[in-house]
């Protein structure tokens, strides 16, 4: 199964078979029951987000005094936003930029590296190939949170903690990306095509760049998304590596804001600021995810079917 194929078959042949068939229709009482279940679960998924949207329009006093799922009399979203971006001389903007640097640039490079490695594992024979691939797969089993403290110990040995690189460089490793790229290159990049290019006198690097990378594009988008999520979800690594608030990604920044808002003697509007900050960080992610949803479905299928 290839991602391209998964997406090009949204209805697919079997959908056509099942819709026209009267035996496949669901009797309406059952259907109403199913719809109710679906709506309840949708409410479960959406209520926290709704609470977030509503709460970002309140000041701290209203936050604690009014019902969580509906608006208060005052509408303070604009002043909350202004206060958030003025917080500690515009540090929130800095965090947004840092997050883009760590997550977007980091996952782009990680994807490129994984593509090269996956392609070599798929298309070349060399001694130790099986062994090295097994080692890479072992890396899939080591989650980022388990690696964070060993990484800290290593970086502090070379006095490189509290730098941009201490968070950026470890984010470039994506063993799962190598796995996906290998599977995809095996199925989706025909040997005949590579050979034809070689016969035409193209070099190995050129063949990879101009043919393999292009054919592997759907897999690359999936690897990119996986790594993006892995990087922005990993809060332990920046938490152990960074002291300087100016190097924080948004997640760690919000965590530190939340920690000081929960402490005794926090400034009065601290909680409202955290709520607004969470909303600001979440909205672009939700939009990006919905826009890219189809790539998730295609990509995960590659791993699932062979996995």
């Amino acid at each position: 199964m290839s991602p391209a194929q998964a997406r090009s078959l949204p209805g697919g042949s079997r959908r056509a078979a099942s819709t026209g068939d009267p035996a496949s229709r669901i009797a309406w009482p059952n259907k109403a029951g199913l719809l109710l279940v679906l709506i309840l679960f949708a409410a479960y998924c959406l209520l926290p987000v709704w609470w977030l949207v509503v709460s970002a329009t309140k000041n701290s006093a209203e936050l604690f005094a009014t019902s969580g799922f509906w608006f208060a009399h005052g509408f303070d979203l604009a002043s909350n936003l202004r206060e958030l971006f003025d917080f500690q001389s515009h540090i929130f903007e800095r965090w947004i930029l840092n997050t883009l640097g760590y997550a977007v640039i980091g996952s782009a490079l990680a994807t490129l590296f994984a593509a090269g490695a996956g392609y070599v594992f798929a298309k070349y024979r060399f001694t130790g190939r099986r062994f090295f691939f097994a080692v890479v797969l072992g890396g899939v089993l080591l989650p980022p949170n388990v690696l964070a403290i060993p990484l800290y110990l290593l970086f502090s040995q070379v006095h490189a903690t509290n730098t941009y690189w201490s968070v950026f460089l470890p984010s470039l490793v994506s063993p799962f990306g190598v796995y996906l790229c290998r599977i995809y290159a095996e199925a989706g990049v025909p040997d005949e095509l590579l050979e034809a290019a070689r016969i035409d006198g193209a070099g190995e690097i050129y063949v990879f760049r101009s043919i393999a990378l292009r054919l592997m594009r759907p897999a690359l988008i999936t690897v990119f998304l996986f790594q993006l999520v892995a990087i922005w979800n990993n809060v332990l690594l920046p938490l152990v590596m960074l002291n300087d608030q100016h190097l924080y990604p948004i997640t760690l920044g919000l965590y530190s804001m939340y920690a000081s808002a929960s402490a005794i003697g926090a400034p009065p509007n601290a909680t409202a600021l955290v709520v607004t900050g969470v909303l600001v960080s979440v909205i672009p992610l939700i939009i990006a995810f919905i826009a890219l949803q189809r790539y998730w479905r295609g990509g995960v299928a590659v791993g699932a079917i062979r996995g």
Partner: protein, 323 residues
Amino acid sequence: MVTKDQFAAAALPAAAARPHRPHRRRQKAGNSLTWRSAGLIVPFAVIFFLFLILPIGYAVYQSFLGQQSSGLGLGPSTTVFAGLSNYWSAITSPQFGAGIGRIAIFGLINIPLTIGLALLFALILDASAIPCRGLFRVIYFLPYAIPGVVGGILWAFLYQPQLSPYSDMLSALGAGQVNLLSTNMVIWSIANIVVWEFAGYNMLILTATLNAIPAEQYEAARIDGCGRVREAIRIKIPQLRPALVMTVLFAIIGTLQLFNEPLVLSLVTKSVTTTYTPNFMSYTEAFSNDDYYFAAAISVILAVITAALSFIFLTVVNRRAAR
């Protein structure tokens, strides 16, 4: 499923149109690795070694060291080889044991709920008679877009007794005043955050696999007179097996590294201690107690448990499949 031949059939006309030259370099398709093509794997190999193999190796090395203070603990302390003593203190530590126990309970709550809900909604939304299937899928997937720590902060607000609309709802339903952050409730509250974040994502993996089941299998089942539910059990679930194995495996790995949600909740409730999970304990040992060697030992134990459990799970699953 794109087979190599199908793909080649689509791609070959362009290649075939070129003038055919005699093979100059190789007999068979370019298969052996040359120095130039090895360059494609070198960047990954280098970072994989530097930022995965090396830190693990260094942590293993550190886990065998210890601090020994000279005199009565007043003189400068020196680093000495400590053998297995860090491992021994970890294994015999009641906090570590309690942490392992908590993630075991957490896994027993979280994994069946996450995968069960994912399977249920993937199957319901696979039935073509349901309206707005795409909308439901997007809604269920949406929490996954929210990073773990941010989701943790969001739910921490929703759990705090002074703020919680859910406590209000529960008391309106006649459950009395429920503190969602109390010692007994908090493990369920953490599990709820994780289920909320991952159920829809796992559903999407299963959906992708369901979309790939060929139509003929359904037709055969229909001729046999299968009902909807029997169709799901007889055809869909066996086909979903590899995807279910993968989702359960990732859920196991995720359970063992549980850290973000307890970290956030520890700010607002004493029910979550700084040794709540093994990962949290390792963090606390390193950064509150400055015992890096002990922290390294905990990380290594955790890595070994993760690899061992994944291996056992895959072995058991594959043996069942072979039967």
